[in-house]
């Protein structure tokens, strides 16, 4: 266990150096991510200006929702499945397979390093948005504390689902279409387009049974104080179940996939 910790620590230092090299690229890339929440925030606040509130959300609450969403979205950033597909196609997995450690660990470590480096930029943008769209928050101490483990679980669930999707590239060269279906589902089912409670009930149920709600929407709702302690426990339970399922799936798919892997290139 301490060995694994040491590997994470080392990988973390390496990644910090790598990330620091591409500061400008990262800043620009993050800037491109703000457009989406601003668009949806504007659409919803426009409607609240017309009719007071929408589905129990006031203008200030929509602002709070999307500003929090930005933070959660940042913490939930994963290695994109396209990057994994690229590794399979270019034969880059060959080098990773030689290492005596599962490649997910290095990916998770580098992910976390990236998040820490980019966090100040995100916080600055959240502050900026908060001055333009004044949010109404009503925090609870317990929900902020509960947010930490819930967010970590949410990240792992999203990370593993993208990782598993990515290594489907071992079997098909058109895995990209599958990724896209998944991404479109994320738009509707993770609370991006609108808070989940504004969607039709059947869609809410689908989002709660599948892992989607637990990847982003749930931590956002929790931090906003929209979840009761009981529901938070149930949610954490769902997260545990999905994480367990995904770990098992990963082991299965990985073992079968590596057998099929015929390295291309050097």
């Amino acid at each position: 266990m301490s060995e694994l910790f040491e590997i994470y620590r080392k990988q973390f230092v390496i990644e910090l150096a790598v990330v620091a090299q591409y500061r400008v690229s990262i800043a620009l890339w993050i800037l491109s991510l703000v457009a989406e929440p601003i668009v949806y925030m504007t659409v919803w606040t426009t409607i609240t200006k017309q009719q007071g509130s929408v589905g129990g959300f006031t203008g200030g609450e929509f602002a709070a929702y999307y500003i929090t969403w930005m933070l959660v979205r940042h913490f939930a950033v994963t290695l994109s499945p396209d990057a994994l597909e690229w590794r399979v196609r270019q034969g880059e997995f060959s080098a990773l397979l030689l290492k005596p450690i599962h490649p997910v660990h290095t990916d998770i470590a580098s992910n976390i390093a990236y998040k820490l480096v980019a966090l100040p930029i995100i916080l600055a943008m959240m502050l900026g948005l908060a001055t333009i769209f004044p949010p109404t928050y009503n925090f609870h101490l317990w929900s902020i504390l509960a947010f930490i483990p819930v967010m970590f679980m949410a990240y792992l669930i999203r990370f593993l689902s993208h990782w598993i999707l990515g290594i489907l590239a071992f079997w098909t060269t058109r895995a990209n279409s599958i990724f896209q279906i998944f991404f479109v589902s994320e738009i509707f089912l993770t609370g991006r387009l609108a808070p989940l409670s504004l969607l039709p009930v059947p869609i809410q149920i689908v989002a709660s049974i599948l892992p989607f709600r637990w990847m982003i929407a749930f931590p956002v709702e929790l931090l906003l104080g929209k979840v009761t302690p009981e529901d938070a426990l149930v949610g954490f339970g769902m997260q545990t179940i999905w994480l367990g399922l995904e770990v098992m799936l990963l082991l299965l798919v990985w073992r079968a996939g590596v057998k099929r892997y015929a390295a291309v290139g050097a």
């Binding site: 620009l28 457009a35 426009t46 409607i47 279409s177 387009l193 609108a194 969607l199």
Partner: protein, 261 residues
């Protein structure tokens, strides 16, 4: 006249090139349908909770989505791929091959790469626009149709000049792909009429990243909201942008030293 022939020729080459990869056609249809689902799903959720968005009804916004697809399709058909190839050429030094051709280099660079399957998006846009307009119920008069045509051409010219100016920066900064990513994410904002955004963002979307003129203004023309002032403004801006981008291109060319060999 030579220019028209040249454009036609490059289109033919583009089509022949893409016909080698026919599966891409189905991939494109698949992608277009997914983005259509996102756009229509968004409208459906919003209009589940209200009957109008800042004065726009749901069929009118459907028309906006139609224009959004049409213009987006046109950008991805020729402007974006050509400009990306141009920037790559500057980086690699292969722009030399274009410069030695006995025609205007700006024209050649602007039409060189054509992704013919993006026409699917243009077609989807036209269909969605048609459905939206029939649901609006008001007949589109000649005046509106004319305004739409002019606004569309002006918007196209503005977007083209904008891309050319950005791409020309490659002469100085070599790597600017990330700026283009920002444009793509900003273009998403064009799915909604720019009038709903706060003032500073409206300004950005109108003058810094000119999406308003490309999508909202043509849509306004069709739904009878366009004032003559806006139309004249669009034309004036198009003329200014075309001139500025031309001058900028000239200055940039002087900085190109070739990187090959």
């Amino acid at each position: 006249m030579t220019y028209v022939r040249l454009v036609g020729l490059y289109f033919k080459i583009g089509i022949l090139n893409e016909l080698q990869y026919r599966v891409n056609f189905f991939v494109q249809i698949f992608q277009s349908i997914l983005s259509l689902i996102v756009a229509l799903g968004g409208l459906a959720v919003v209009f589940d909770h209200t009957t109008n968005l800042n004065g726009w009804t749901s069929p009118e916004l459907l028309a906006v989505v139609g224009v959004y697809f049409m213009i987006g399709g046109l950008i991805n058909l020729v402007i974006q791929p050509s400009m990306q190839r141009f920037m790559e050429d500057v980086r690699q030094g292969t722009l030399d091959f274009t410069l030695v051709k006995p025609q205007d280099a700006q024209l050649l660079v602007s039409i060189r790469q054509i992704q013919i399957w993006k026409l699917v998006d243009v077609l989807i846009g036209i269909v969605v626009l048609g459905i939206g307009l029939t649901q609006v119920g008001k007949t589109v008069g000649i005046e509106q149709a004319l305004g739409f045509g002019i606004a569309l051409i002006a918007g196209g010219a503005i977007v083209y000049s904008f891309w050319l100016i950005l791409a020309t920066c490659a002469f100085w900064f070599v790597r600017i792909d990330n700026i283009l990513v920002i444009f793509e994410s900003m273009y998403e904002a064009g799915r909604w009429p720019v009038g709903i955004y706060p003032g500073w963002l409206q300004f950005t979307l109108t003058f810094l990243v000119p999406i308003a003129f490309a999508v909202t203004v043509p849509a306004e023309a069709l739904t009878g909201r366009l004032t003559p002032q806006t139309l004249i403004g669009a034309l004036a801006l198009a003329a200014v942008m075309l001139t500025v981008s031309r001058i900028f291109w000239r200055i940039g060319m002087r900085h190109y030293s070739g990187a090959s060999a």
